[in-house]
Each structure stands twice: as structure tokens, then as C-alpha cells.
Amino acid sequence: MRCHDDPVYREELIRNYLRRSLDAAATEAFESHYLSCDDCFEELRVSGLLMVGLHQSRIELRRVDDVLVLQFAGPAELTRQSFELGELQRAFLQSDSKVLIDLGRVVKIDSAGLGQLISHYSHVVKNQGTLKLLNPNAEVQTLLKLTRIDSVLETYHDERQALDSF
């Protein structure tokens, strides 16, 4: 194995193993190798965690006409400690004035998440724009109602309808 001569090659090997794109022989060779090599096994474990982190954290941004649509790529939590909340903050460092946030994959939200939505709303309003929500699940919808945020942020369950409302 060239693992120890070329660290980038090792990372590529690990990445391909974790993404299951190695053939059977290469998979077996790498498994036999890491069983005897603590160094490569440690790198494999860290890269595995890193890939999970990268994978679970994605926010998709797309533009439909002049509306910016934000959507979580996988199940997301908008809570104080969650990475998704940070991602949402960062995704918002732009001057878009028409924003639709798809909450369809948001499984949990707390006061920090609600505060973030309101903060985004204020930011957009300052740009003479508006922010609307799409597809909140029942739990999120209840929280929006309880906190009366639903009277400020319009909520839709149909994307076309939401886009047409801007």
C-alpha cells in the first residue's frame, strides 16, 4: 500500500472506501491493511466522522425566478447547539430580498431556531423584502402558532403557491 508515501493518496483511498467506490479486491486489500495499521485506521475513523459531519450539514440554495429557496438536504434541527442553525446563519449572509425557507426536513426547532428565523426576517425586511416559510411539520407549526410568529411569517404548504405569493 502506498498509504504512507503519499498522504493525499491515502485520503483518496479512505474516501473511496467510505463512499464504497473501491472494487472488491481493493476493499479487501485496504481492510487487511487497516487491521494491521493503527495509523490508517485512525485516519479512517476521523475521515468517516468528518464525512458524516459534512453530509449531515448541507443546506441547498436554489433560485426560482428571483426568490431564494433554502432547503435542508437531510433531517435538520434548528436548535441552539445544532450545526444546521449555524449553516442557516451563514447561508443568510447575502442581500436577497425574497426568501423562502423550506422547513420540510426540520424535525426540531427551539427558541434559538425561532429567533434565527425572526432575525432573518428582520434582515430581509431591512432590504425591502420578505421571508416566508414552506412545509413546517405539525410540531414546528404548533410552535410558530404558540409564539405567534405565524402572524409575521407567512407559511405555505405548496411551493408553487408560496413562490407565486412573492
Binding site: L35, L44, M51
Partner: protein, 171 residues
């Protein structure tokens, strides 16, 4: 031929990773399979079946493959549940609860710089070639290497500290 207990434990941990990789970490029989493979391996050691110590890991891997294969055949005859090891998941055997791990990973990702995340994402998730990443991000191969390993090192360090902090909080 005998092995000390720390070597056997290291093998066990790694086998657990391998088995989870092939069967999915939600497979309820991962530990049983690892146990069976280790048992066969120790028997082979005791009966001097492994002549070349350098091929020990390959021998163990082969034993483990057989046990996984037998398990899959049995499962095929008496299906218990749907196994989907194809998705990217948190590998087993890390000694922590999955929810806690996900939280820690989330915190760690928050602390990486946007450029670091961009490079890691391009490399690990989009499977882009190193030369392509260098071209699109305006990096030399050396710079790419430095950024990649620095980001990974940073991830490793923050991850260790977060796990330690979490463990301390629980005690």
C-alpha cells in the same frame, strides 16, 4: 503463537468497524459476528495455522469475510430486517452514543472556516479530483495538501476536546 490482550482488543475494534461497514451499524448482530470471527482467529492462532505473522491481518480479514458471508446466507434464508449499509453513517465502535456523536460533529463543523468546509466537501462528498479542486479554488497542490490536512487535524482536535468535555459534564 499468542497475542497480548491489547492487540486482540485493537483487532476487535477494527473488526467491528469492518463488520459495520459491510452490514450497517444498525445490524443487531455486529457484535456476535465480531465475536465469532475473533474466536475462529484465536483457535487458528492456538493451533499454529498462521505460519507467517505478517499475513495475520489478512488472515483475520479473510475469517471475518467468511463469517459475514455465512451470516448473509443465513439472513437470506430467514430475513430479519432490511439492512442498508450503503448509506453514509456514523461508524460503529466509537464508544459513544450516536445522538451525542451527531451533536459533537455538528459543533465541530461549526468551528471550521467556510473555506475549509468547502475544500473538505469538494474532496470527501463531491469526490472531486485533487487537480480539479486546485484549479477551481486557485490552490497549488502543496497548498491543497496543507489545507486538507490542517482542516482534518483541526476536526480531530476539536472532536476529541468536545467528547472529553461531554464526558466530563456527564460525571
Amino acid at each position: 503463537m499468542t497475542l497480548d490482550s491489547s492487540t486482540l482488543e485493537r483487532y476487535r475494534l477494527k473488526l467491528r468497524y469492518k463488520v459495520s461497514y459491510h452490514l450497517g451499524s444498525s445490524c443487531p448482530d455486529v457484535d456476535d459476528i465480531v465475536q465469532e470471527a475473533m474466536l475462529r482467529f484465536v483457535h487458528a492462532l492456538q493451533s499454529e495455522k498462521i505460519r507467517n505473522p505478517e499475513s495475520m491481518a489478512a488472515f483475520l480479514s479473510g475469517i471475518c469475510n467468511n463469517v459475514i458471508y455465512e451470516y448473509k446466507r443465513r439472513l437470506h434464508r430467514e430475513p430479519l430486517c432490511d439492512q442498508d449499509p450503503s448509506s453514509l453513517e456514523i461508524p460503529a465502535g466509537l464508544g459513544a452514543d450516536l445522538v451525542e456523536l451527531r451533536q459533537v460533529i455538528g459543533l465541530v463543523m461549526n468551528q471550521l472556516a467556510p473555506r475549509e468546509r468547502e475544500i473538505l466537501r469538494a474532496f470527501f462528498l463531491e469526490e472531486r479530483d485533487r487537480s480539479e479542486i486546485c484549479r477551481t479554488m486557485g490552490l497549488s497542490v502543496m497548498q491543497f495538501r496543507v489545507v486538507l490536512f490542517r482542516a482534518k487535524e483541526k476536526f480531530r482536535e476539536i472532536y476529541r476536546l468536545s467528547l472529553k468535555r461531554n464526558a466530563a459534564k456527564q460525571h
